[in-house]
Point group: C2
Chain length 218, copies 2
Amino acid sequence: MSSTPLTRSEAKDRTRRRLIRAALAILDDEGEAGLTTVKIARVAGIAQSSFYVHFKDKQDLLRAVSEHYGEQLRASMREARRRAREAPSDRERHRDTFRIPLEAIIRHPELLRIRMRALHDPSSPLKEFAARTAIAYRDHLAADLAALGYTADDEPSRRRLEMVAEGLNTLTNTFAVGHIEGRLTDVEETLDVLVAFSSGALRLLKGRDGHPRERRTD
Amino acid sequence: MSSTPLTRSEAKDRTRRRLIRAALAILDDEGEAGLTTVKIARVAGIAQSSFYVHFKDKQDLLRAVSEHYGEQLRASMREARRRAREAPSDRERHRDTFRIPLEAIIRHPELLRIRMRALHDPSSPLKEFAARTAIAYRDHLAADLAALGYTADDEPSRRRLEMVAEGLNTLTNTFAVGHIEGRLTDVEETLDVLVAFSSGALRLLKGRDGHPRERRTD
DNA sequence: TCTTTCACCGATAGTAGTATCGGTGAATCG
DNA sequence: CGATTCACCGATACTACTATCGGTGAAAGA
């Protein structure tokens, strides 16, 4: 057996990580309403009062949770962009733009669920974390679209590119939830649909001027 | 002045409606975490204990909220479908498929915000309400797409149509939030983008067999 | 080895929300 | 015009959670 001869600070660090992990698990299956110091401490295996040895209060723990998993997400995003650059063809690149985040989300479903909740809950302390993550994803997409030749030089097309990126982001999240919940199983098929959505939207960006449609007189 | 000479049951009914309204207002700007009988009663202008004259408990109130606004939503959906049938051309019809729900949401932003939260919060008593509403919207879309000629006869294309409808739904909600938050202002431009997204996705459905793509060998 | 430090413990004060209860006066009913 | 009903009230019991405090033993440091 591993007779864990830990130093004091190692042991403290381990407990701290356990608390963060416990918080994430509870957030995932009960939401923020169910997150109490009593439960966190029980799951982490310490007394409720000992929670305060590690964190000033619950808010402080949530800040730590954001930092911990925020760094994890940023790292996987960097890795994703690196791998995407190695794609053999534009076609595969386009696919990978969606494949990589989609697979990342499916690997760690808790984070998406928690982020989506926090994004809409006005009382959530994780709101800022969720918002920053969403922006990071959008930048990832924007960069990849730019690499595919969809640059936006004038103001209206810039705004449209932004809308398209935001939309594709939401679509990725929605379908990821589908996979997490088991309603969807074939990742390749989901990628087909995502690519189809995006190629429709991107066709809009290629328009010569900003308004390739009949203008309504309102 | 309106010297409100109400009968007893009329007065009770009015108080009940005030409670439901108060609950919605609090849900909107504080979320379910902020919804307490104390606040509801205060906003409605009665004593906290009197809350229980009208509802068995908080859960019971939320049931009533769901019913009240659920009926309102279903009614506006029926109206929307009726109006869409009158569109002069397929092109306008396609646009109206998005315009009508989008405008409805922008008119009553609280309901979308509350629904989106409830949809993701595992502890939310409004979850079922939100889920049923989402399904109703999806059916609305599916019916409109079918009317545009996008019918699904075989199993794979049926599944795809479902994915497309779900995706378009999410996109509508996302952009509606953009309008509510003031980031987006031009509804016609949003409709352009929605139509572009959908025409890309729908092209997938027109494919002769279910797999108009290279299959990966994984 | 003796002292100090400190992660963790149990107990508990404080706070916020839920739900019940008996009382009151005005509407309703006979 | 009594008698009754009942929407609403204030007071309060109860519950759940947060955060603090003093005590303890084992690790760290002298």
